[in-house]
């Protein structure tokens, strides 16, 4: 009778429903979600592998930049001046403390001789710690508390006021310099910067002020630059920090007044400012390489995968390659270069490209296999360093204040000790910097024309956000579909059960359950919420563990794992374990849980793709297949077919790999060889993420780990 009733009901309802085409399409997709998800996931992975092929050549998007249109004015006179400075600096032979003060004084004298304003900036080196609540607040909202006079540094700042500017804009270049003990390469970077600086004091075309920051790098390059920027942007009238520093400095006495009186007028102890920063360059010289000529390394990743405007990289790359003949490189994973399957893939793409071209010569698809492999290695490192969320150099500090900045790492060819070679090198470096500054000087507005969101596949090739988002979108597209289809199925299942149970058995309470079937997801949502809370606890645990002194990384890691498990157990005790349901759990329960989990993963990945795309992409590669395949093992074991066996093994392998520590160790073993694995490494890695305020840390704790746990729950669900 019940059956006929349903029949009647549906018969009555069918003529009423006239779904629109878009609804029909949705229903179609949901009903074929298995096929759709397989196709989408495969396409997503394939699209990711295709990215190096789809990369476009970079081009200078902002017309005002006009790089290389003026001939370089840097002459040998500037170089010889710079050499004199270098000689004076390296000639100092005093004690460690005194060297610092003395070399600072020499620098200040040289700078003020050029007619620049010189000032000293004192700062305390501080450790920044992630406060999870600070994540969304402003960068300067981070308050630092513990002061110690032992570690203060002094930056030297030289400012040239532009003859044609209104003092509202500035260009910064930074040379990290360790005043305690400097080596040849650091002095070399100083002399390059000095040669440019001395030229810029004489030129007439300058429209933006020039700031040269000689960052005291004895406590790290990043900290000194970040401290300077913080003070630059937050004028403190009677600030606590500055007074603290002053109290420290008085004892050590940074005497400026000893200098002759002519100079004294130009050197000030107070903080000097110029206008807003248009761009910043960090210049470093490293020890020579043996393989190639002079090379230029570009580092651009700032915190949370933010990149400077692509135009800045473009002009540097253009000038370095076409004007100075430097060999430009960006970071890449060398270990990827000799992977066999990658070579095979590259050859396939090359073949496909040739095929396409033979069909229609206009189709410019496909690149040589070697290029493909190089591109992939660069892309992988670009993804990895963006995903880490840790700045790859002092330029990262600028990005927090919306200033575009990159680090240029120039390394001369080894055995270039001969004077002429060195001069040649300084001239090349200086001309590069001069060209970039002249280009930026032309800029009328902030950098805005070109991309901010991109991945590099080589110094002159990039993948823009519009292209790489496709790979990600394809990967996550099945998630809402599968969630919807599971949800619909679970509801239907209960609907069917209502009629399976003959009506007299159904009590009032079960009737109520049935009426509320559209709210049945609430219990699943509760479980998801609880596990996410656990994720938050796990995220906060390293906070406590790091308070314990003298704990080796391995011990910390082990205690972290143990404490996390303990907290999970406590949660189970309080809220009841999902594994030991006292009441018979309904058939649709796991489906509902899976639906809720998948929704959580979807929301989490979507959020993360906005915050830091690279993390979201890597996370999606790990999580999405697991989430889609997770199904209670009992069902598969009951089915006992080849297909279910295959599914079980796949799910187990994926579940094993997606566990964050395992994923970390696996990738480490792949890239660095299996013998480099150490349990403490993971702890160190997570600690560095935490110390650098990386959003990836939050992602791992609040999205990845809870969702992995929920998938494990689904796997061992007692249905």
């Amino acid at each position: 009778m019940a059956q006929t009733e349903t029949g009647k009901e549906t018969a009555r309802e069918i003529p009423k429903m006239k779904p629109r085409p878009i609804v029909l399409l949705g229903i179609f997709l949901i009903s074929h979600c298995f096929l759709v998800s397989v196709v989408c996931c495969t396409a997503g992975v394939l699209a990711l592998l295709l990215l190096p092929v789809l990369a476009k050549n970079t081009y200078i998007s902002e017309n005002a930049l006009m790089p290389g249109s003026a001939s370089s004015m840097l002459s040998n006179h500037d170089i010889s001046e710079a050499n004199r400075l270098a000689k004076d600096l390296s000639g100092l032979n005093l004690g460690l403390e005194d060297t610092g003060i003395e070399s600072r004084r020499i620098l200040a004298r040289y700078l003020s001789d050029l007619g620049a304003e010189v000032s000293y900036h004192k700062f305390l080196s501080q450790q920044n710690h992630l406060h999870p609540l600070h994540f969304f607040s402003s960068p300067d909202g981070l308050m630092r508390e513990n002061f110690s006079c032992s570690s203060y540094g002094v930056n030297t700042v030289g400012i040239i006021r532009a003859p044609r500017g209104d003092g509202k804009e500035a260009i910064v270049f930074v040379t990290p310099y360790n005043f305690g003990k400097s080596d040849l390469s650091e002095t070399l970077s100083l002399s390059i910067a000095y040669s440019v600086f001395s030229l810029l004091t004489q030129v007439t075309w300058l429209a933006k002020d020039i700031i040269w920051l000689i960052a005291d790098s004895q406590y790290g390059e990043y900290d000194s630059v970040a401290a300077w920027l913080r003070d630059y942007h937050t004028p403190s009238f009677t600030g606590l920090v500055s007074s603290n520093v002053d109290a420290c400095v008085v004892g050590n006495n940074l005497e400026i007044s000893n200098d002759n009186s002519v100079v004294q007028g130009k050197i000030s102890d107070g903080f000097r400012r110029a206008g807003t920063m248009a761009a910043a360059l960090v210049l470093k010289v490293t020890d020579g390489n043996e393989q190639w000529d002079d090379t230029l390394g570009i580092y651009a990743e700032a915190s949370n995968g933010q990149m400077p405007n692509l135009d800045l990289i473009n002009i540097v790359n253009y000038l370095a390659v076409h004007r100075q003949g430097l060999r430009v490189k960006v970071q890449k994973f060398w270990s990827l270069l000799d992977l066999k399957w990658l070579e095979f893939l590259g050859k396939t793409f090359e073949l496909l490209g040739k095929l396409a071209r033979s069909l229609n010569p206009d189709w410019k698809f496909g690149i040589p296999a070697s290029d493909y492999i190089e591109g992939t290695a660069t892309l992988a490192s670009s993804l990895y360093f963006q995903a880490l969320g840790i700045p790859t150099g002092p330029h990262g500090a600028f990005r927090d204040f919306q200033v575009d900045a990159i680090t240029l790492e120039i390394s001369p060819k080894v055995s270039s000790s001969s004077k002429a070679k060195l001069n040649e090198f300084v001239l090349r470096g200086g001309r590069l910097i001069e060209g970039v500054i002249r280009s930026v000087n032309n800029l009328l507005e902030k950098f805005h024309q070109s991309f901010f969101l991109y991945l590099l596949t080589s110094p002159s090739k990039f993948v823009s956000v519009g292209v790489y988002m496709i790979a990600f979108a394809l990967l996550v597209a099945p998630l809402p579909l599968v969630a919807a289809s599971l949800y619909a199925d679970a509801n239907k299942l209960d609907f069917g059960m209502k009629f399976d149970k003959s009506t007299p058995v159904a009590t009032a309470s079960s009737e109520r359950d049935i009426t509320f079937r559209s709210w049945k997801w609430l219990s699943a949502a509760k479980e998801v919420f609880v596990i996410h809370m656990w994720g938050v606890v796990v995220l906060l645990l390293p906070y406590l563990i790091s308070q314990i002194p003298d704990l080796s990384p391995t011990a910390s890691f082990v205690s972290w794992v143990l404490l996390s498990m303990l907290s999970l157990l406590i949660l189970y005790l309080i809220l009841g374990s999902p594994f030991s349901h006292s009441h018979a759990s309904l058939k649709g329960d796991w489906a509902m849980l899976k639906s809720a989990t998948i929704s959580a993963v979807f929301i989490g990945l979507l959020l993360m793709s906005v915050v830091n795309f690279a993390t979201a992409e890597i996370g999606a590669l790990l999580m999405v297949p697991l989430c889609l395949m997770a199904q209670p093992l009992k069902l598969d074991i009951r089915a006992a077919s080849l297909r279910s066996f295959f599914r079980v093994s796949c799910t187990l392998i994926l579940g094993f790999i997606a566990f964050p520590p395992v994923a970390f160790f696996t990738s480490k073993a792949v890239f660095e060889g299996p013998d480099s694995i150490n349990l403490g490494d993971f702890w160190n890695w997570m600690e560095s993420l935490r110390a650098w305020n990386s959003a990836t840390y939050v992602y791992i704790g609040m999205v990845h780990l809870p969702c992995w746990m929920l998938c494990i729950h689904i796997l061992f669900h007692s249905c």
Partner: protein, 472 residues
Amino acid sequence: METKEENEQLNKTRGGFWTWVMASVIFRLILIYFPQNLNLSSRPEVSTPLTSLRRLAEGYWLKQASMSPYAGSMYHGSPLLLSVLGPLTVKSIEGQPDHVLCSVLFVIADIMSALLIRATGWKLQMAYKKSLEALGIINRLVTSGDIAALVYLWNPFTIVACVGLSTSPIENLFIILTLYGACTRLVPLAAFGWVMATHLSLYPAILIIPVILLLGYGPDAPPRKLFLQKGYCKTGDKNSSHVHCAQEEMINRSKEQIIFSRRPVVLFFFWATLWSIYVLVLCSISVKQYSSLWEMFQRTYGFILTVEDMSPNMGVLWYFFAEVFDFFRNFFLIVFHVNILFMVLPLAIRLNHRPCFLAFVYIAISSMLKSYPSVGDSALYLGLLVLFLDELADMQFSFFIFCGYVGISLLSPVMHNLWIWRGTGNANFYFATAIAYACLQIILVVESVGAMLNHDRKLRKLSVANLQDDES
């Protein structure tokens, strides 16, 4: 036996209710201790130009300095709020975070709102049970009042609005007070709540229609046609005397549902006039020295209606009026505000048998289309939504809407961060979440109204079946 069990269960749930209420209070107090860390009071989603306590403190400071509190376009709230909350903003207890007294006041307001929601829920449920019995439909109802109160208290939006130093808890309190007063037929209370709510935020003015319906027809009930049908059928057959008695009673009761009683409505208007005169007198006393009532209206209602402040918020108006040409501005202002008014009448006609639900729909619509919306408004209508748990049991897309709310409320701060702090995004990013949020609210309103109408259809079917059973 069953009733005993039921009572036990009730006691248990009541105990559970109070522990949860206490837990929510403790949770709020803990959060109040970390105001700097959370930095909620500066979030555009939490504090609007109308509800921000920082602006109120500024207005109070101006007033203390013998200036008009409305000088300099900082403060746009009521002068009464200034006199009540103003002194609390200056007073600070040693070692406690700033504005701790205000925060405590907001917590109390939240608790009172929750208790009023609970009482309203009880009242609604009793009335609904009665009317269902009159129709001969047996239905077990859940204690939606308790659930609604807890949902209101534990809704992250409510918590954020309470901790984030915005005055929306107080505005919400008066709106709920209106509904409570109207449900319990305490006409002066309803009038007071309505006048105060309108005074504080203007938009609750449209609640006058549900309040009149509530006072005239009584709380939510199934469509009145059903009672009429029932009455006709019953009078049609006269078999025995005791059935006749029952019929009489039934008809009387159903008549009670049908007849619009004018007296409380007239009383309501009387009281509303009285209260509004009272409020205006108080306001004029408060602003007399440094400004005038006219300036007050200009700076509060005028500010709301002309959308002067175009700083980003969760709504859709700021972006639009930042883009629109100046000579079209007045036209579009009218269009946007009439948008709310357009929906008032049709909804009132369609849902006139369910005035409380109508009030929910009005609040949801106005919080979607108002000029400075905040999460506090959403908290209010989400709390009220749960009052109709029984009726909306078959609501579609509930899971989707829930996920949408979670996603949007997380995405909105991230987009704001991307735009303001990182500079890699732009206003469109943030506005996209605002549009998505508005769409979500539309879906919520449409689905809930649809579910309510379906519920009415179901009731009709059941009552018709009952009638047929009786006849046969």
